[in-house]
Amino acid sequence: MPEGPGQDEELELTSPLVPLFVITNGRALPPDHEYEHTTLVTATGAENGQVAARTLSPEAGQVMDLVADGFLSVAEVAGHTHLPLGVVRILLAQLEEDSLILARTPIPRAERVDRELVSAVLEGLKNRFGA
């Protein structure tokens, strides 16, 4: 029996039959420093947001559902939704523009990776694992 290409491939949420530019509405990637892997995002719960939420694409809606109740990193959003990271970044940029989510930069801009921060990491690891 003839089999089409990719017939036995695992079904994924984003079918390759839906081009990525459709999911992202043709939008381009935000600049590199926006929505990095460790940028934290959450839903704003804004009133006007609920109106806009009704018109979201299924994928954007999925992202919204995921971050509805708390903060997650951009990488976690990609991991849980199984959407490619680039697509997630574009969707998040769109959602932030619509005031549906807010993003927290991983390390506040004014601060450098300094001794205090590394020291806090070391303390945290020691408390967790013992040393």
């Binding site: 590199d32 420093h33 990095e36 892997h37 460790t38 940028t39 934290l40 109740d69 708390g70 903060f71 997650l72 990193s73 990488a75 976690e76 990609a78 991991g79 849980h80 199984h82 959407l83 490619p84 990271l85 680039g86 927290r104 991983p106 390390i107 506040p108 990776v113 300094d114 001794r115 921060l117 590394v118 020291s119 806090a120 990491v121 070391l122 303390e123 945290g124 690891l125 020691k126 408390n127 967790r128 694992f129 013992g130 040393a131």
Partner: protein, 186 residues
């Protein structure tokens, strides 16, 4: 699943190494969440069959990357990214190395030569690193001095033995790296 609402700092450490060295296992041993996977897009040079000129063209492919999470305090969370060490993934390194505290380089003593491209990338992106020599319980211990010599490491670079399947062993390797990062900050 969610982070503490007071979380204000998200830091990252890269767990790097060649294919099959145990990055994913290490992250699984340490992470407080079931390790997750991202699909990252990378561009690659390729030559198509119908490309008569033979000029390399760019195509986009995706590469999977595993990562885990460790909450270290109400305000601080650490992410561990398992970063593949091949030259072709250097685009990913550009973003991942930015703001990264450092890198834990996993090394298989039986396949030391495969770690050279990994160390190349780590050094090119200016990451401070420590070496964790993967050691499975029941196998012979590999002299760490020989690893240091074979990999041409500086005296300051920490080299520790590590069973990546073991939470405590992986944690001690990570702690060794962070102590080294502290010492480098002076």
């Amino acid at each position: 699943m969610y982070l503490d609402p007071d979380v204000s700092h998200a830091v990252k450490i890269l767990i790097v190494g060649h294919f099959g060295v145990g990055k994913t296992t290490c992250i699984g041993s340490l992470s407080e969440i079931e390790p997750l996977r991202t699909e990252e897009e990378i561009t690659e040079a390729s030559v198509g069959f119908d490309d008569l000129s033979g000029t390399p063209d760019k195509t986009t492919t995706t590469v999977a990357m595993d990562f885990g999470r460790l909450t270290l305090s109400d305000t601080l969370v650490l992410y561990l990214f398992g970063t593949p060490g091949q030259e072709r993934f250097k685009e990913m390194w550009e973003e991942l190395s930015r703001g990264a505290l450092g890198a834990l380089v996993l090394v298989d003593p039986e396949r030391l030569h495969e770690s050279f491209p990994v160390l190349d990338l780590v050094e090119r992106f200016g990451l401070t690193y420590a070496i964790a020599v993967n050691h499975f319980e029941g196998t012979t211990h590999y002299p760490l001095d020989e690893v240091r010599e074979a990999l041409n490491l500086t005296d300051e670079t920490p080299v520790v033995e590590c069973d990546v399947r073991d939470e405590n062993s992986s944690a001690q390797a990570l702690i060794t790296l962070v102590k080294h990062l502290m010492s480098q900050l002076g």
